[in-house]
């Protein structure tokens, strides 16, 4: 049956030309349940928002866009199953995949094998260094994400010493090593690097070891809910160092679960601009709230931007095969809500924006951008 539809579609595209109503399918994969569900669902919602708008206008050059959404549970084992499913479905021509670097690490070879182009969200720098021909990353990698906080710590905070804690995962360990390197390059000193287990909830013993070292800043390379737990216990043990965390902390849950007084002054680095940064972004925030009845999530804007990239790809592509889409994706140059984006040979953004926020009260205040 699938083959039959595929042949039918192929026939349609051969004989009918672009004016005929066609459909193309995008595979979406991210954590939709579990502690990181908020990130995955709101990211996808941003994408759907744009796609629904395109479809309502009649699609791009007569091509309407369908999507298939799957839950990878932030787990590489689930992610590879989803990847295989998308690969086997001939309708799927593009993947909007894997919020987590650790998951992307194991799914990218599968997508590569079946020539399915992906816009990958995992931010570990090594992902684009493995020679994949079918992936691009429409978001800043951790090299950019960990540079801004290191500069801020040395410059604005006047920090001289830092202590690094990570959860030994692809993302957490990767980004904290980059932070440490940036800090040392800028003249800072790393007192110690401590690894914890990714499922740990009790950091009291680790914190008791950190306390006498008296670092100026503590960088925690981990995800939620560990970020909130660590912040809370750190404050309860009376450690006054400034806590710096990666993008996972950019959620109201970080402040709520840690307790508001426990996270004041903590810094969160993320690739997302504030929702009032430009008229285009403000428009997006309004549309999002109107459609979903809640404020846009941390990465919703990137879902929306990926929709804009897809629109441009469909405008310029020669056909709707995976190969054609891939060629158009790598050559794309498009003005989006976060600025003009284009990819280099490895699939990395040529210019990648990154931002730094500080927790004040129950909100995030922008303190720096790059």
């Amino acid at each position: 049956m699938r083959k039959f539809t595929a042949t039918l579609l192929l026939g349609a595209s051969l004989f009918a030309g672009p004016a005929m109503a066609e459909q193309t399918t995008i595979g979406l994969s991210a954590p939709l349940s579990g502690p990181q569900a908020y990130f995955g669902t709101t990211w996808h919602n941003g994408f759907k928002l744009y796609i629904d708008k395109l479809n309502a206008e009649g699609g791009v050059n007569g091509v309407t866009i369908a999507y298939e959404q799957e839950d990878d549970k932030a787990d590489p084992r689930e992610g590879t199953l989803v990847a295989q499913k998308f690969c086997d479905n001939a309708q799927v021509v593009l993947g909007l995949v894997n919020f987590n670097s650790g998951v992307a690490q194991s799914t990218l070879p599968i997508y590569e094998d079946c020539s399915l182009p992906t816009m990958t969200f995992g931010s570990n720098p090594s992902l684009t260094k493995q020679g994949y021909k079918f992936m691009v990353r429409p978001v800043a990698n951790d090299l950019a994400g960990a540079l801004l906080p290191a500069e801020y710590a040395l410059g604005k905070l006047g920090a001289k010493t830092a202590l690094i804690v990570n959860d030994k995962q692809v993302f957490g360990q990767g980004i904290s090593e980059i932070f440490a390197k940036n800090l040392q390059d800028g003249g800072g000193k790393v007192l110690d690097t401590i690894a914890v287990a990714p499922s740990d909830v009790d950091f009291a013993a680790v914190l008791a070891q950190i306390k006498p070292k008296k670092p100026d800043v503590i960088y925690l390379g981990a995800v939620m809910p560990q970020l909130a737990l660590f912040a809370k216990q750190m404050h309860e043990q009376g450690i006054t160092a400034t806590l710096i965390v990666p993008d996972g902390g950019y959620t109201p849950d970080f402040i709520k679960q840690a307790g508001e007084p426990n996270v004041q002054g903590a810094l969160v680095a993320i690739q997302v601009p504030p929702m009032d940064a430009s008229p285009a972004i403000a428009d997006f925030a309004k549309l999002y709230k109107a459609k979903y009845g809640e404020d846009a999530g941390p990465y919703s804007i990137y879902g929306y931007v990926q929709g804009q990239i897809l629109e441009q790809v469909l405008k310029t592509t020669k056909g709707l095969t995976r190969e054609d889409i891939n060629a158009a994706l790598h050559a794309v140059k498009v003005k989006t809500a976060v600025g003009e984006l284009e990819f280099d040979d490895t699939g990395e953004l040529k210019v990648a924006p990154s931002y730094l926020y500080k927790v004040e009260g129950s909100a995030f205040q922008l303190v720096g951008s790059k």
Binding site: A37, K168, V196, A205, K211, E236, G259
Partner: protein, 316 residues
């Protein structure tokens, strides 16, 4: 240095007393039924969720004052979970009591999965912020920091453990439970209400587990449907280490486990000059468990292989 020592000791005592409350449930059930109750970790999770629900009703709908509401919520939740425990035993374990030894264990695995999934559907899979049951005040003791929360947890856990000690060793109910645990057929021949004793165990175990869950959630400020899995495994390890079936053994095992974990975190990088980091804590912990079991297969305070367990072995 001294401050650090004091602080790490308090850290270990706090986490150890929570392990102990849960480990007691595993060991008591094993004592009377020779069965591992895999659903016990979920009693710990239910404790937190039920307390949260009761608390939001009391404060939100009834408008009760904070401190009283917390106490009421704590008591209502642990007793409610105790009754849930009795209900689960009646429905899922009792009909299987005379079948093979594996049947009730599989049944308990099923109960465990159902409870986790049920809570995931009802309350959502994401972690939820949990209110603190004690006002958090920091005390500086010779350079170490101790919070009122840690003291509160220690006191609550020790009160409960002493309560259990008196119930088991000084009350008539305790005598009955011990008799059933010694030998179920003999107790039955002597006219003891065996079902009553088993229900009692399935009431007290989940009650203590639920108390552990509430203390834990309020210590870390967070609860999630899957919180019972990791901590349940740790408590189960503690029960085995101390000698499963032995009540003092479960408490001892829990504190040993906690001290090894905290000590491992604190000392591994120092002793090995940074070769092994704190992430090797669990490797150290379980290496010690294996060593103990090699020397004393029944656990530290466990009884040596009894006639009864030989009978069970023949069944396999």
């Amino acid at each position: 240095m001294l401050g650090n020592l004091i602080q790490q000791t308090v850290n270990a005592l706090t986490i150890g007393s929570i392990y102990a409350l849960i480990a007691l449930g595993y060991t008591m059930v094993y004592g009377v039924l020779r069965m591992i109750n895999f659903a016990h970790g979920e009693m710990f999770m239910l404790g937190a969720y039920v307390a949260f629900l009761v608390l939001s009703v009391l404060v939100g709908d009834v408008g009760m004052a904070g401190a009283i509401a917390l106490t009421v919520a704590f008591l209502v939740a642990i007793f409610l979970v105790g009754f849930i425990g009795v209900g689960i035993e009646r429905v899922a374990y009792k009909p299987l009591r005379n079948s093979t030894r594996l049947a009730p264990m599989l049944s308990s695995l099923g109960v465990s999965l159902s409870l986790v999934t049920g809570i995931q559907i009802l309350a959502g899979p994401q972690p939820v912020a949990f209110p603190s049951f004690f006002p958090v005040v920091r005390y500086e003791v010779m350079g170490g920091t101790i919070t009122s929360m840690q003291i509160g947890i220690l006191v609550a856990a020790f009160v409960l453990m002493f309560g259990l000690y008196f119930l088991v060793n000084r009350s008539r109910i305790g005598i009955i439970v011990r008799a059933v645990s010694e030998s179920r057929p003999t107790a039955q021949l002597l006219g003891i209400n065996v079902n009553g004793a088993i229900s009692m165990v399935f009431f007290v175990g989940p009650l203590l587990g639920a108390a552990g869950g509430i203390l834990y959630a309020s210590y870390y400020g967070i609860m999630s449907p899957s919180m019972g899995a990791v901590i349940g495994l740790k408590a189960f390890t503690a029960a085995i280490l101390g000698g499963i079936g032995s009540i003092p053994g479960a408490m001892l095992g829990a504190f040993i486990l906690a001290f090894v974990e905290v000590g491992g975190t604190a000392l591994l990088p120092i002793v090995t000059h940074g070769v092994l980091g704190t992430e090797y804590r669990d490797v150290l912990t379980f290496a010690i468990l294996i060593l103990v079991l090699l020397v004393r297969p029944a656990g530290i305070l466990g009884e040596a292989v009894s006639e009864e367990s030989i009978v069970y072995k023949r069944e396999f």
